[in-house]
């Protein structure tokens, strides 16, 4: 059964179909919200909130649009809301490396490099960060990013270029600091 069938069933009130949708997309959505938030607990909370919003608005979803774009858009907004709620006054660059989390599989050096990357991403403005994440991690095409964020493809390209330039600069600064 493909996503479209599951959505149709879920729109009629089938909770099992909705659960199947959640299981299918959980990985990509948590990955997206994790890249946005830089913290797994926050990311999973935002992902769950995104799925609740999907459930509440299933009737407004039109099959002519890609479900993934619709879902990513809701998840992006949920992640941003979550970040604003959790850290309303904190400056992103004040986050310590420990805050940004590490994985046991990575070596100390890799962990430090990964933390640098997350910190550099966190320093990007929201519009730049979202476009960069959707392209680099979620591997969406320019058109899919444009559909997801409801912006022109040209804006996607310019934001992506700016994000990459700023990210390289931030990474250079961070590597010089350590």
């Amino acid at each position: 059964m493909d996503d479209r069938d599951l959505i149709t069933y879920a729109q009629q009130g089938d909770r099992q179909a909705f659960t199947e949708l959640v299981c299918r997309h959980q990985g990509s959505i948590v990955s997206l919200t994790y890249r946005m938030c830089g913290d797994l607990r926050l990311a999973e909370d935002a992902a769950q909130e995104a799925f609740v919003r999907v459930w509440q608005n299933l009737n407004s979803y039109k099959p002519k649009y890609a479900f993934r774009s619709w879902l990513y858009r809701i998840a992006t907004n949920a992640a941003l809301d979550s970040l604003r709620r959790e850290r309303p006054t904190a400056e992103l660059d004040s986050l310590s490396l420990a805050d940004l989390g590490t994985t046991p599989e990575q070596s100390v050096e890799e962990n430090q490099r990964a933390a640098h990357v997350r910190r550099a991403i966190a320093q990007l403005s929201e519009p730049l960060r979202v476009v960069l994440i959707l392209r680099e991690y979620q591997e969406l095409t320019y058109q899919e990013i444009a559909d997801t964020l409801d912006i022109p493809v040209g804006t996607v390209m310019s934001r992506l270029n700016t994000a990459r330039v700023q990210l390289r600069h931030e990474l250079l600064v961070l590597s010089e600091e350590t």
Partner: protein, 183 residues
Amino acid sequence: MNPHLSELLPAYHDGELTSNRQRQVEKHLQDCPTCRAELKALEELSSLLKADFVPDPTPPERFAAQVQLRLPRASLSRTHQREGQPPRWVLGVPLALIIVWAFLQAALTVTAFILTTDQVLGQPVAFFDSWIPTEGLFQTIASLLIFNTILLMGTTILWSAWMALWLAWNKNQNESSIKGGVT
């Protein structure tokens, strides 16, 4: 002079160029060390970003169960039905029209009863003299019927106008699409 293709390199790196443009960039890259270095920098940045893995998330089944717990308590169909319905005031106005119509209809019936009784008893009521003929039973009943018809027609016209507005609103709601629910 070898003009650089810096503006095309990100799209080339992302696989977003048309085949013609792609060939153009590939040809250019063979002769331009500056653009090759620029492309390499883009590739290194992507590799660096992708080297950072997402920690193991909650297993899908458990995650889905947690989502279920956060869903509104009302059954899905009822929740969706409520979302598909118009605001209460949209239904409230026709309801108010019915109540007003029923009240006026009742008042008219009582008036008719009093007048016709008075006519039968031969005691016209002065209060009604100015707006309903009270001198003949047939004339009185005819006037009351005209009043009644005007009242019914007025209510029907108002009701129809309101239903037309509601249908237009409903159509508009159905056309709202991908933006729905997104903050």
